[in-house]
């Protein structure tokens, strides 16, 4: 009750005309920047942060909230239309979004992403409103051993993305982990696997790596579709005009996506609350969970359920991540860290005192998230017809354009040609892998999760002085360990049983 009264007071702040204006501006800009392939929510937030410096703190943070939020929306656009996830949370969106767009339903795919984001986000914000301060302390209950086990569970969900050839999947996952281990070992502060190269001291930068592996590799493949595309265009005399009306979801679509959306929304919020997990883990777990439920089309072939599960979870996690950010000052993700930097610029120190010392600010921010969510949805729906026009540009003209965008985007993430070279090399590697039937999505996810896993595991070992006991000395840990073992062993047992049955059938 108290929370709701505070929220109402927050709305009073947020609904001031200049704050509405800031929110709207943030939504539009965030959407555009987030949608640019290769920029994505993290870089987008970082790049747009300076824009807010001109306002007073409350207005600025409302704009920042809208930016953050709409960036998450925007990231899914390029994932769906171009198969270039703007940021890691959108990797799973691309898995079904792009095939669905290819099937001739790009409008509906975007709309489904928007609706799922909106519903997932709303669930996340509602839970945040009710429990903001309580949730954060829950996250603190988790020690390193628990986090290690949770991350192991998250890693096994990668296996669900692997596809028909498990060996190739394992190879690619391990490769992703090894690439991530290049650079500084954060626990000892010593360089590792840098092979005497000064650039490698800082590791392989994530954004150029992902732009290359997914974006540039995609362009190289795109050239083969040039002729097919030409023929298709010649056949279509009058191009079908895509309007908002035609991108509307049917009642049936909506029914398909609602259950995964709600499930992922709730689950995503809680994943987002865990310190250091964030939207990527959220969308992954959401997507992986959906694999366990029934979908009308197989996942990965353009199933609307897949888009819904991944988008709802990632937006809910984005909202959930605000709980530790505001109440403890722990950013849940890279984007959260940028926001934290923004808050500190304003002299606001997120932490246990923030809700007491700056209530109008905290609740203003939370209420602005409701606003941002609505505004972003409206703006996003309005731009769908324009975005779809991107698809009506002939493939052959897109090739040089996207190549340049990849290069310029990779340069801007680190202000150096090193980023461009990383992008180029990982593009070629990604292309070769793809040609040989190795899926690249597991590699990217492993790249993101592995460092977290290693850090937590090593910290657990330091605390236990190298004893394995720390992983089994509490009921919670045993439960998590059991879940992990079940997840890892089920497919093995299943395949053995299948082989046995096959043998029996032969005999």
């Amino acid at each position: 009750m108290e929370n709701f009264l505070s929220l109402l007071a927050g709305f009073q702040v947020a609904l001031a005309p200049e704050n509405i204006g800031a929110c709207l501006l943030g939504a539009v800009l965030g959407l555009i920047v987030g949608a640019m392939p290769g920029i994505g929510s993290l870089a987008g937030c970082a790049l747009l942060l300076p824009l807010t410096y001109k306002f007073n703190p409350t207005t600025a943070i409302i704009m920042l909230g809208a930016l953050y939020y709409s960036n998450m929306y925007g990231g899914s656009f390029s994932a769906i239309l171009l198969n270039i996830p703007g940021d890691s949370p959108a990797i799973t969106t691309a898995l079904d979004g792009y095939p669905m767009a290819k099937k001739g339903r790009p409008g509906q795919a975007l709309m489904a992403a928007n609706m799922a984001s909106f519903i997932g986000g709303t669930i996340g914000i509602l839970i945040l409103t009710l429990t903001a301060s309580g949730l954060a302390t829950l996250g603190l209950k988790f020690g390193y051993a628990e986090m290690t086990l949770i991350l192991l569970i998250a890693m096994t969900s990668i296996s669900w993305l692997i596809g028909e050839n498990p060996i190739k999947g394992i190879v690619i996952t391990m490769l992703g982990i090894l690439v991530a281990s290049i650079g500084m070992d954060t626990l000892s502060g010593a360089p590792r696997f840098e092979f005497g190269n000064m650039y490698l001291l800082g590791g392989v930068p994530f954004t150029p790596f992902i732009i290359g592996c997914v974006g540039f590799a995609q362009v190289i493949k795109l050239i083969n579709e040039r002729e097919a595309d030409e023929k298709k265009r010649a056949n279509e005399d009058s191009k079908t005009k895509l309007s908002i009306r035609q991108s509307m979801l049917t009642g049936h679509d909506f029914k398909r996506m609602l259950p995964p959306t709600i499930r992922s929304g709730v689950m995503g919020t809680f994943v987002g609350v865990l310190p250091g997990s964030g939207a990527t883990t959220g969308s992954m777990v959401g997507y992986a969970m959906q694999k366990k439920f029934k979908s009308e089309e197989p996942m990965g072939t353009g199933a609307i359920e897949g888009i819904a599960a991944s988008e709802a979870a990632n937006n809910a996690a984005a909202a959930g991540a605000f709980a530790p950010l505001l109440a403890l000052g722990i950013p849940g993700s890279g984007t959260g860290a940028v926001l934290l930097g923004g808050l500190m610029m304003w002299g606001l120190n997120p932490g246990p005192l923030l809700f007491d010392s700056n209530p109008e600010f905290c609740w203003g921010l939370i209420s602005s998230m409701y606003m941002a969510n609505v505004f972003t949805l409206l703006v996003a729906i309005l731009v769908i017809p324009f975005l779809i026009k991107i698809l009506s540009v002939p493939v052959k003209y897109m090739i040089p354009i996207i190549t340049c965008v990849c290069i310029v985007g990779a340069y801007s993430t680190s202000n150096s040609m090193y980023g461009v070279i990383v992008m180029f090399v990982s593009g070629i590697v990604g292309y070769l892998l793809d040609k040989n039937g190795f899926p690249t999505a597991p590699m990217l996810l492993a790249f993101v999760l592995a460092p977290m896993l290693e850090k937590n595991m090593r910290k657990a070992f330091i605390a236990s002085q190298g004893s394995l006991k720390i992983f089994v000395d509490s009921p919670l840990k045993l439960v998590l360990l059991a879940v992990f073992l079940v997840l890892i062993l089920t497919p093995v047992v299943k395949s053995i049983r299948r082989k046995m049955q096959a043998k029996k059938a032969q005999a």
């Binding site: 190739k168 801007s412 180029f424 090593r458 190298g466």
Partner: protein
């Protein structure tokens, strides 16, 4: 291994490459970073992963070598063009700067590879220049490298 006639073919390039990568990580890891010293050392996690990579790569190699049915992977000359184009931009950047390299590349590509009409080329050039200069340079204040030529002028 089994398939002596065609044991080494293009399809096994990837597992062979990952076998080499995993060996490098195991050797360098054991030599420089250690595995366990009362508690895990920096080498601990990567070495475990590299061992798994080695095992799975070998399995993958065997699997591919045995499988005689699947087609040879086909590489297309056009794909190489895209890569060369991007490599060209990167090399030219050191000479004439990143922005001009991109614009020249777009022009060359559209004119000589796609044989696009002038109107299209001009429109795309203008749009790209506007995006790079307007959004990245002016708004986001990113300073693109000017190259040797740019350094001489400014």
């Amino acid at each position: 291994m089994e398939n002596k006639k065609k044991g080494f073919n293009l399809r096994t390039v990837i597992p062979l490459a990952t076998i080499i990568v995993s060996l490098v990580f195991i050797v360098v890891g054991l030599k420089n970073y250690g595995f366990w010293n009362a508690q895990p050392t920096p080498g601990f996690f990567p070495i475990i992963i590299a061992v798994v990579l080695l095992a799975s790569s070998i399995a993958c190699f065997v699997q591919i070598a045995r499988d005689k049915n699947s087609d040879e992977v086909k590489y297309n000359r056009n794909e190489l063009m895209v890569m060369l184009g991007a490599a060209g931009i990167i090399l030219c950047t050191f000479l004439i700067g990143l922005v001009p390299s991109c614009l020249i590349y777009i022009f060359l590509w559209l004119k000589f590879v796609e044989r696009a009409p002038w109107k299209v080329i001009i429109i795309i050039e203008i749009i790209m220049a506007a995006i790079i200069l307007g959004v990245f340079t002016a708004w986001l204040q990113i300073r693109f490298p000017m190259g040797l030529l740019g350094d001489l002028i400014f």
